[in-house]
Structures are given as structure tokens and as C-alpha cells.
Symmetry: C2
Subunit: 221 residues, 2 copies
Amino acid sequence: MTLARTIKRPTLHQELVDRIRDLVIEDRLKPGEKVPEKELCEAFGVSRTPLREALKVLASEGFVELQTNRGARVAEVTREELQDTFPVIARLEQLAGELACVQLSDAEIARIDDKHKAMVAAFEARDRPRYFKENQSIHQALINGANNKILQDHHKLLAAKIKRARFMVNLSDERWATAIAEHEIMIAQLRARDAEQLGQTMKHHIENKFRSIMKLLDDQA
Amino acid sequence: MTLARTIKRPTLHQELVDRIRDLVIEDRLKPGEKVPEKELCEAFGVSRTPLREALKVLASEGFVELQTNRGARVAEVTREELQDTFPVIARLEQLAGELACVQLSDAEIARIDDKHKAMVAAFEARDRPRYFKENQSIHQALINGANNKILQDHHKLLAAKIKRARFMVNLSDERWATAIAEHEIMIAQLRARDAEQLGQTMKHHIENKFRSIMKLLDDQA
DNA sequence: TTTTGTAATAATGAATTCAATATTACATGA
DNA sequence: TCATGTAATATTGAATTCATTATTACAAAA
């Protein structure tokens, strides 16, 4: 296994939590796969104690599942979980939009506008990886703009789960174009400081993404 | 220390997470207090390994804070955290109300109505502990009625944080009466299956509670 | 007295060990 | 061949041990 390099940092388990979570989100550890303590210990150059501490935390976050006496498995991304996750994150983004709209400085809004332009460029170049990155950066900026630690923490967890779904279905061209259009509206509302409307648009934006993904999943079956 | 009895159950750390979290929520472990591993190990009759695993999980949930080489402390309930938490939980309850309204059976609604009556009785008897319990039971029933695991999990964490605030301020008589009135409206809307409105009322209900608590906190200072 | 330095003590983070459980390999009999 | 039982092996959960860091106690000097 060559998943990562050894470690420094304050405490091992904190570093491990972040690293292993990332392996899960980035699909380096596949859903349903068992998490082999021994191999990960060797890969990271740590003993089982901090690794197991990390696994408990990841289990409470929902990225792995612990089976008594049978170790840990990477959590599956189920249709049901997505179905539960999207409505919740939609409300969180709505709230974030409302708060960010009144709290962001003009300069910060201009920076988000820059990201938006970069995202549109990625769309026009049909560069999916770059689009994903820019898109994520915009949403993150809006979440951070809400200036609410609790909101950030809970959003981070939910966003990570949804992120994993990108390995299940491909963004359709149609949805892609619609998403861009929705972002244009968001930017306009953000510049107009229309908090209520921005929240509404962001909520719908997520709900539309939700519908698109669910349709694609159905089509696969 | 006589905080708890020894343990059985599948894995020790899971049990410990629940037990220690409960000690924090019930204010048996005070905010800012250091969590003495040794004593807790003795109190629960376990070694440091599962206890420390539990502390990492509780830290990720925000109930304790880990300081490298200096152990764990019970997290404080800060004004700032409450200020961040309430808006989020308000949206979650709003969503829960909308979903529960269309998903609960008539029988389940009748059961919630029973709880409501019990809560009103507790109010009339000015029995705060009983009121808290019944109130919590109603909100929990509505959350569960949404039938959304993610929503339940995230709500549970946020609700626990807010619950801790009850040791900081006392429910005022005025707020208490208003809360009862809001619950009356909720029940009516639930019976009328008016999802949108119920969601709205639940959101406002939490927001009003928020304002009340903040005012009381300000008055203390 | 108060401050500062230092030794002793205690606690923490992480590795290791140990007992219990699960998994695998393999032999035996249908 | 295919089950089925059993021994060997590996993995897991938890206790223990060990090295490091923090805390405390206390002495010497200002």
C-alpha cells in the first residue's frame, strides 16, 4: 500500500483523521472496503493506538463503519443517505447565503465574483476537474462568509458525503449548464445584497443538483 | 468520584462516549473542568485506551476540548457558540416540521398531541423539569417524524449543546407562556397538515427561544 | 517575603502486549 | 466433489508499558 507518507504534527490521531477521511472522500479507499489496520499503520508509520482512535472519530462522522470484533469498513454512499443529506445541506446553504449576503465585504464579494468567472471559464473549456474545484471554492467562500463556526462544521461533514457521490455519477451537460445559470443568478443577488433571494436560490441550486443526481442513479439501475 | 457504574456492552468506547457525553449535558462535568482520565477510568472500571478513544470522539462532537499534552477539558458553553448554534438548529427544525407534517400518521400525530397535553399540564403545574422533558419529547417526535437519519444525527448534536444552556439561565415565566402558545399553534398546524406553516412556526419558535436566552445572558452581564 | 531554578512527581501520547474473537486452511467423511 | 469439523493463524478490543512533557514542591537567592 502506498497511500500516504509518514507523519509529524501535534497529535497523530488528528492527522490520521484528516488523512484517512481524505482517502475516503477521494475514493482512494473504496466504499465497503475493509480498512486494514495493519497496512494503514505501516503506511503511516504509526502504531495501532492512534490509528484506532482516528477510526472511532471517522465512524462518528460517518465515513467508516465499525463492526465489533470485525474491524472497520469504508461507509457506502447509499441512495438513502444522499436522499437524507441533500435536503439538510440545502437548508444549511440557504442559511449561509442569507448570512453571507449581509456579512461579506464588497472586496470579498469581488473575490467570489473572480472565482465565479474562473468557474465559468472552466465550464467553457469543459474542464470538469477545474470546474469542481472552482465551484467548491465558491460554495466554501459563501459558507465561510456566514461567519458561523457551527454552520461551517456541519456543512463540511455533509459536503464531504455529497462529494463522494461524484464517483457514482457524472455531471450531465444539461445539469452543468443549468448549474452555471443558477450561479449567475446567485452572483447577481449577492452583489445586490438580496439576502432572502440568495438563500432561496442556493437552496434551489442544491435541490436541483439533488434531483439530477437521483435521476442519474435511477437511470443506472 | 461517583459519577457512574461499571460497564458491559459491545464496545467500551461506544458506551463511554454516551456516558461521558451525558455527564457533560447533565452538567455533572462542569464547563472548563479538566477531564481526569485516571478518575474516570476508575469510575467506569476501564483502562485508559477506550476512555481516550471516547474522548477523541467527544472532542470531534465538541463536548470536550483536547489540549496537546495537557489532556481534555469540558467545553464551555459560550455565548458565541449559542449564537452560531440556534440559527442552524432553527433551520433543521423547520425542515423537520415540513417533512414530519406529511409523513406522520394520524395515530402518531395523536400521540404527539398527548405529549402536548402533558406538557401543558406541566406548565400549569409550573413543573419545570417535567416541562423540559415533555417539551423535549415533542421536538424529538417531530424530528423523528421527518424520517431522515442525517437530520436526526445533526439535530441531536446541536440540541445537546443547547440543552447545556439551561444551566446558564432560567426559563422566564414570560417566555414560558409564549412557548406554550407557540406549541399550541404548532399542534394546530400539524393536525391541519400544513407543512409549510408548521415549518415556519417551528423556526420562529426556536428563534424566539434564542432571543430570550440571549437577553437573559445579557442581563446577567 | 517574593522570585527563580531545579528536582520530584504526575499526566499524557503512543507503542506494545495480552486475551478473546474471527478467519483461514485443511483434513475427514459423506 | 462437496460439506463439515477442527486446528492454525490472524485480527481485534482493551490493558499495560514506556518515553516525553507538564506540573508541583521546594530550596536558594534577591
